[in-house]
Symmetry: C2
C-alpha cells in the first residue's frame, strides 16, 4: 500500500547482498526522511563506481579510470618482487586495510571450479607466470580462501611457479571454510607471519 | 589505497543507518562487480523516492506525487471512522504489512519531546482533533512506541479526544522499550486484539 516510488526503492535496496526486505524498508524510509542531497550523493557514487573503476593492466586490482596501473603497482616503495596472489580485487582491500603488507598483488579473478566451468584459462594465471618470469619475482604468496577450491587453485598455481621462484601460502591461522575478506586484520597478519613454503 | 570512486561509494553506503564500514565495503564491491543497470536502478530509485513521495493531505501518510490523498484515504473499503494514530509514516507500513487492519490512519510526524523542542504544535494533533470532530470518528486507537515519550504523547492526545470519541491504545503485547516498526506481524496483531479503552 506504500507509494510506488517507495516500493521501488525498497526492492532496489533488497537486491544488495545481505539486505533483507525489512532492512531495505528501513534504509528506504531513512532516505525519504533525509535531505535530497544525501540521496543524490549515493546515487552519483553508484554510477561513478561503475563508470570510473577499471582493472590494473599489471595485477588486475581495481584502478581509477585513466590510470592503467593501480596505486600499488605505481608505488615505487612497494616491493614489486613479492607478489600476493588473491582471488578477487576485494581481497586486496582486506590486505591494504591491515597495513602490514608492503609487496604487490596479482588478482586471479576467481578460483578454479570445474563444476562451475571456471578453468585455468578463465583466470589470470598465464599473466602471473609471465610476470614472475619477466620481473624476477622472489616470492609468490598464495592468499586464497581456505576451502577446497582455494586449495586446488593454490596447488595448480604452485605447480607452475615452483620451478621459477619461491612459493608460499598463508598460514592456516584462517578459520577453515571462512572467506578471506571477512578476516580481521590481526588474524590476517598472524597468517602472514606464519606463511609456509610450498 | 582503493580507487577514489570506490572509496566514495563506501562512504556513501556507510552513511545509511545500521551500515558500518565493513558492510558498506561489501555492498560497494558488489555494485562494482554487477552490471551497470543494477547500479542505475538503485540510483534512479533513490532520486525518485525523494522527488515522488509526498504526504497525504488528510492523514500525513506517504503518498505518490500528484495524489493529494494516500492509498488508504482513497480506499472506500477502509473504515474511515476508525483511526490508528502513529508517530511516523513508516509505522503505517508496519500495520499495512500485517494486513489485519482495515481502518484509516493519522500520522503525527513524531512524538512530544519537550527536551528536544518537540511541542504539541509541532505535531499533527490539531488536525487529528479537527478530523475526529468533522468525520464523526467512532474510535481512535493510539499506536505509539511503548516508551515514556510515546506514553506522554498518548496521554496528551487522549485528554483532548476523550470528550469526542472512544480512545484506545495498543495492548502492552509490545515488548516495553521496543520500536513499533520493529514488531513482527503476530505481535502487532495480538496487541491490536487486546487494545484497551482509555
Amino acid at each position: 500500500m506504500e507509494p510506488l516510488a517507495l516500493e521501488d526503492l525498497i526492492v532496489a535496496f533488497a537486491k544488495l547482498p545481505g539486505i533483507g526486505r525489512k532492512t531495505a524498508q528501513r534504509l528506504a524510509l531513512y532516505v525519504v526522511k533525509r535531505p535530497r542531497e544525501e540521496a543524490e550523493l549515493l546515487a552519483k557514487a553508484l554510477i561513478a563506481a561503475k563508470d570510473q573503476i577499471e582493472h590494473c593492466a599489471t595485477c588486475y586490482n581495481f584502478t581509477q579510470k585513466g590510470e592503467p596501473l593501480c596505486e600499488v603497482c605505481r608505488d615505487t616503495r612497494r616491493d614489486q618482487q613479492f607478489l600476493c596472489v588473491v582471488a578477487e580485487a576485494s581481497d586486496v582491500l582486506a590486505f591494504e586495510m591491515s597495513q602490514f603488507y608492503s609487496g604487490a598483488y596479482h588478482v586471479l579473478g576467481g578460483v578454479l571450479s570445474p563444476q562451475d566451468g571456471v578453468l585455468p584459462e578463465d583466470l589470470h594465471i598465464d599473466t602471473l607466470v609471465e610476470r614472475v618470469r619477466q620481473q624476477g619475482v622472489q616470492e609468490v604468496m598464495l592468499a586464497l580462501n581456505a576451502n577446497a577450491e582455494g586449495d586446488a587453485t593454490a596447488h595448480f598455481i604452485a605447480q607452475q611457479l615452483m620451478p621459477l621462484t619461491k612459493v608460499s601460502r598463508l598460514a592456516r591461522g584462517l578459520p577453515v571454510g571462512a572467506d578471506l575478506d571477512l578476516a580481521d586484520s590481526v588474524t590476517l597478519s598472524l597468517a602472514f607471519a606464519g606463511r609456509s613454503s610450498l
